[in-house]
């Protein structure tokens, strides 16, 4: 059952539907708290994803390193941040990618909010 009654533009509510859909992906991302697992993922990404039973859509989204695709496949941003961390990406990198602008432009928008 979904908890979402009204859509908020550009926002995915991580409800029961999303949590079920994204379970395998989020579980894999949770494992990245451990540096040894991050290294293992980088050593053999295919095998690592297979071990967690990712769906085809999740596997594609991981391959593309695409945050919007990962969210659409049920990923939750708190766990996805651990995935992004493997590649040294911070939340400005992630924000820029999702909003289709450069990191400098994304950061500039945030700075502009402060003026």
């Amino acid at each position: 059952m979904t908890t979402t009654s009204q859509p908020i533009p550009g926002t995915t509510i991580f409800d029961g539907d999303q949590a079920q859909k994204g379970y395998a992906l989020n579980k894999m991302c949770m494992s990245f708290n451990d540096a040894a697992n991050r290294a293992e993922f980088q050593r053999d990404e295919e095998a690592y994803c297979a071990r967690y039973g990712l769906t085809a859509a999740q596997r594609e989204a991981v391959r593309h390193r695409n945050v919007l695709e990962l969210i659409a496949a049920g990923g939750n941003i708190y766990y996805l941040a651990k995935f992004a961390g493997i590649f040294g990406l911070d939340v400005q990198d992630i924000g820029a990618q999702q909003t289709g602008v450069s990191k400098a432009e994304f950061t500039g928008r945030l700075l502009a909010e402060g003026r």
Binding site: G16, Y79, L110
Partner: protein, 285 residues
Amino acid sequence: MASIIGCVMTSHVPAIGNAIAKGRQAEPYWKEWFDGFKPVHRWLATAKPDVAVVVYNDHGLNFFLDKLPTFAIGAAVEYKTADEGWNIPTVLPFTGDPAMSWHVINSVVAEDFDVTMCQEMVVDHAVCNPMQLLWPGGEPWPVRIVPVEINTVQFPLPSAARCYRLGQAIGRAIASYPADARVLVIGTGGLSHQLDGERAGFINKEFDAAFMASLTADPSWVTRYSTLELVERTGSQGIELILWLTARAALGAGSGVSGVHEVAATYHVPISNTAAGMMLLEPTG
């Protein structure tokens, strides 16, 4: 008897921990934010709390979606921190206060808040960064902690109104604790921000200002909003304001005109992707 001597509410973004670890407090990007805590440090030097009840949200360090409590209270002897996936600098463990933890647990469950009880718990940046902001270079930490964790990951989340009532119950629990203790309540997270989706980077200064203003004289103001209404107004992660609200509710209304006195406050945009805020309130009565 225990008493609540104040309530600090502050942002906890991971970037703060990195800035501290790299000694960037005086850099232009960070100076205003860190300078905002100087009056808090002066206040703490005389207020001398013994215990900090820390209301925070776990970001996938201690809890996962396999078993995700709505409310959890730590009752451990010690709380360690750990790698959250980005090799974030760690801090020394925090000493727990199991006796007070169990008193709070017993009290709030008796008031029908069915919390998950945790004798082992690792705490993430949402505990560590506020502690470092309050006590820079303070390790070993000068206070024992009682962590109160609230789910902001998996919907449905507890409503603001529910969190407010939990905070009031925590306040009553502390007030009824028989041993002497000077208790600081800390609420972490916020303010408006959104990390995920096409709306990433969302900030709402007007709402943040209204929320911060409400916390002195009209602390239940924000409970009129549903969770989705708050996500719409503050962002997916701006919903962390329920952690501020829970902490603020524990402070109670006091006995003065507004019941509480604002010792310090700061608000700064941006820190990382967030509108960062801090308030220190103390009871007047």
